[in-house]
């Protein structure tokens, strides 16, 4: 049976119970995100192998850091994010966000994070502004505060004109920008941005990257996945490379370039994975 990774190996998995950290709630943690031996196995349907989406992944992200999580399609990036934001339960290992365990402290985590999903997820019958207002209210923001922040964000991303139109008529790029604004309207302490610029035209992508870069000055922790490796190289404080569910490298872009004696991060990626990051995109 061929699994998702193209291998015909039979996978036999012994699932360990989810391990809770001893100190479940530690709001004074010195890290924004701490992941230790994180593993996620999706049970295969009858007759199919189980799929190891994330295997033994460990890393730490400091407050205010822009952390790039790089990997080809199907590498395990989104599954890792989903475990950190509570959409998937880890099979084993620990994941702590701002001192809260993802298993027991999810309600605290949800107050602190902003999530920009890979696919734009908005109410199609609402306008851009109405979508932003709705999510702002779900984060307990006041109307005046929402309006003020919405205007600034829309202006920054050049989306003001379209914001009063129903999102049903938005282009893919506009939807992605709106998707990101919604995730950041409440100024989260930690933002998870999953491929925020895929499908954007170069101008919109540049504006979005500038915007993401500007968040660093506000001491926000950004956990970012992307296929645009040159931009990750320019913006990220540190990057981690994941492939086939395993974390294979982590460090600052400069250190990795130096370590592998290559010109840029794209070449680092090719050297350690044997392929280009954009393959299959």
């Amino acid at each position: 049976m061929i699994n998702d990774y193209g291998s015909d190996l039979k996978v036999s998995i012994k699932i360990k119970p989810y391990e809770k950290p001893e100190n479940i709630i530690n709001p004074n943690s010195e890290f924004s995100i701490e992941v230790q031996n994180l593993r996620k196995v999706f049970r295969g349907k009858k007759g199919y192998d189980d799929i190891i989406a994330v295997e033994d992944v460990s890393f730490k992200v400091k407050p205010g850091e822009l952390f790039g999580f790089l990997g080809p399609n199907g590498a395990g990036k989104t599954t890792t994010i989903n475990m950190l934001i509570g959409l998937e339960k880890p099979t084993s290992g620990t994941a702590i966000v701002n001192g809260y365990d993802v298993y027991d402290g999810l309600s605290h985590i949800k107050e602190l994070i902003g999530v920009c999903p890979q696919e734009p997820s908005v109410f199609k019958f609402l306008t851009g502004i109405e979508n932003i207002e709705l999510f702002g209210k779900l984060y307990s923001m006041k109307k005046a505060e929402i309006t003020d922040k919405t205007n600034k964000l829309l202006e920054f991303l050049d989306l003001s004109k379209a914001s009063r139109r129903k999102t049903k008529g938005y282009s893919g790029g506009m939807l992605r920008q709106l998707n990101m604004i919604i995730s950041l309207i409440h100024e989260p302490k930690i933002a998870f941005l999953d491929e925020p610029t895929v499908g954007m035209d170069p101008r919109a992508r540049r504006a979005t990257w500038e915007f993401i870069g500007s968040l660093k000055t506000k001491n926000k922790t950004i956990f970012l996945t992307t296929h645009y490796i040159e931009e990750a190289e320019a913006l990220c404080d540190r990057v981690a490379v994941i492939d086939y569910g395993k974390l294979i490298e982590i460090g600052t872009p400069q250190d990795l370039i130096k370590k592998y004696e290559v010109k840029n991060l794209e070449e680092v990626f090719m050297k350690i994975t044997g392929r280009k990051i954009m393959e299959g995109v």
């Binding site: 509570g86 997820s121 908005v122 609402l126 709705l134 209210k137 779900l138």
Partner: protein, 246 residues
Amino acid sequence: MDIQKILALLKMELLKLVREPAYLFLMLLFPAVLTLTFGFAFSDPELGNTFNVMVPGLFAYACIFIIMTVSQSFTELREQGVLRRLNTTPMSSSDFMLANLLSNMILSMMQVAIVYVIALLVGFNSNSDIVGILFAFLLMALFSLSSVGLGLITASISKNAGTATGISFIFILPQMFFGTFLPITSTTRVIAVFLPSYYATDALTSIFNGANLLSANILIDFAFIAIFSIVVVILGILIFKKYGNK
């Protein structure tokens, strides 16, 4: 319970009504058209006003139709990834469900009001006073809860909105044929007694005929609808949380 969040979601649900033409048609225009059609077809002075007998069933039918719109709405939100996104916000699932229950109860009240007004315009005669009419609306609000519950169950087992539409008729058709505006025979009653629409129509018929609201018949109907609706809506929420919200 967070009132601001519930009101924000409620506003969103009600905006959908004016923004989505198909939704508007299903929720408000369809019951209106149905009532008008039946009104003109069965209000024949020479044959006697059989439309009067059908109005309670039309009230119930309007509420039954919510099964389809609820199931479509939830499967669409799931397909669009909006439910997953909502799951990453601090909003609790009980706030989300409460907002949906309230919005659907409001919509069902609007449907019933439309059916009632149009029925009066095309010749419906009620022997009930204002208290009786208000009680009929309360009964329908309660009955609509069971439709929301069945809609949630439908959404949980449907992969997409198209499938949800089809599956919803498994719940709509029996209630329509065994307990709304179609006459009940001794044979169909055997099945009808297990369906809430039968009790809703029966109670409404008594109310519109001017029966005492505290009569045993109406109270039994009310109790059956209340118990059935609460059980089904709780079941619907639990099933949707476990299987439908992925």
